[in-house]
Symmetry: C3
Subunit: 139 residues, 3 copies
Amino acid sequence: MQQQHHQIVKQTNGRRLYDITPDVTRWVALSGIGEGLLTLYIQHTSASILINENYDADVLVDMESFFARLVPDGDPLFIHTAEGVDDMPAHIRSALTQTSISIPVLDGKVALGTWQGVFLYEHRRMAHTRKVLLHLIGA
Amino acid sequence: MQQQHHQIVKQTNGRRLYDITPDVTRWVALSGIGEGLLTLYIQHTSASILINENYDADVLVDMESFFARLVPDGDPLFIHTAEGVDDMPAHIRSALTQTSISIPVLDGKVALGTWQGVFLYEHRRMAHTRKVLLHLIGA
Amino acid sequence: MQQQHHQIVKQTNGRRLYDITPDVTRWVALSGIGEGLLTLYIQHTSASILINENYDADVLVDMESFFARLVPDGDPLFIHTAEGVDDMPAHIRSALTQTSISIPVLDGKVALGTWQGVFLYEHRRMAHTRKVLLHLIGA
């Protein structure tokens, strides 16, 4: 049994879902681990990790439309507004989605389903540098 | 330290929560692992994993009533409609709940709380074959 | 490779977010494990685990304001009401947030981002005794 660590640094340029599947699967393929468990962890509270459909890009558009309506920017409900009208909504979107996800590794591959991709969900409007930690344990 | 993999295949017949606790706990009990970590991962983006109350079936009814109201089928907001009025809502329900959950194993048992059960949440109206991967590591 | 288990018992006194970061980081620091993976698991269906901003306490206030509006107590939609007007909302809040979270451990420290804290989110109005299990694997 062994473990490996990695970090994906992603430059975002606005509020949307970013497909990081290739970054994730490539690193696992090079790790030499055949069976194990991969964990992704995002070190932020205004961006998140999401497993989502990787086929029709309209799904990503609709996902964002839904969250924009559910957690509106500039909602007068919020008192934490010093960092911008989209900051508190970003924290709430983060709470409603995922900060960490663990995926089994089988036959040297991340065991994603046929239509699954791994996405970084940027919830802030401005560009940010986001860090996703990867931990892989197995043999 | 050792690890084991397993797959639960569940035939669903409509949108609701399916209790898979017995399938999960039975496999862990037979694994021979006394202490460790169990991870469940669902290979779909229109069904999810949820830890929920296992006692009063009304909780499952209310859970579904809430999600049906929060993410209405056929919402004109959505452009991804080719796969049916319940498809995009299913992806959003999946994003709002969980794709993976990890639970410690103690004394050879999945360390669920007294009122906790493990559920597969089918978000599509039609019948589907759903796959949940299980990864267990420990000693 | 080795693993360790721990339990945090938290006495809550009302519906809000409780910072358990010091309890978590102190235990990991004392574990002697330099690199690995920490998993937190809450044994309840009316309280949850959340990674959230640890700096401005207003974020915690706004988070609660949002969930109180999204999942209102005493909603006539619910039929599971025997345990109180805040019980079914608590189960839904639990489903919308997290029951388990896994965080890499690097250089003997939980690899939280600069502004991240680990919170127990009590969703019931009355005082409760809540149990969070910790599992740490690594070397």
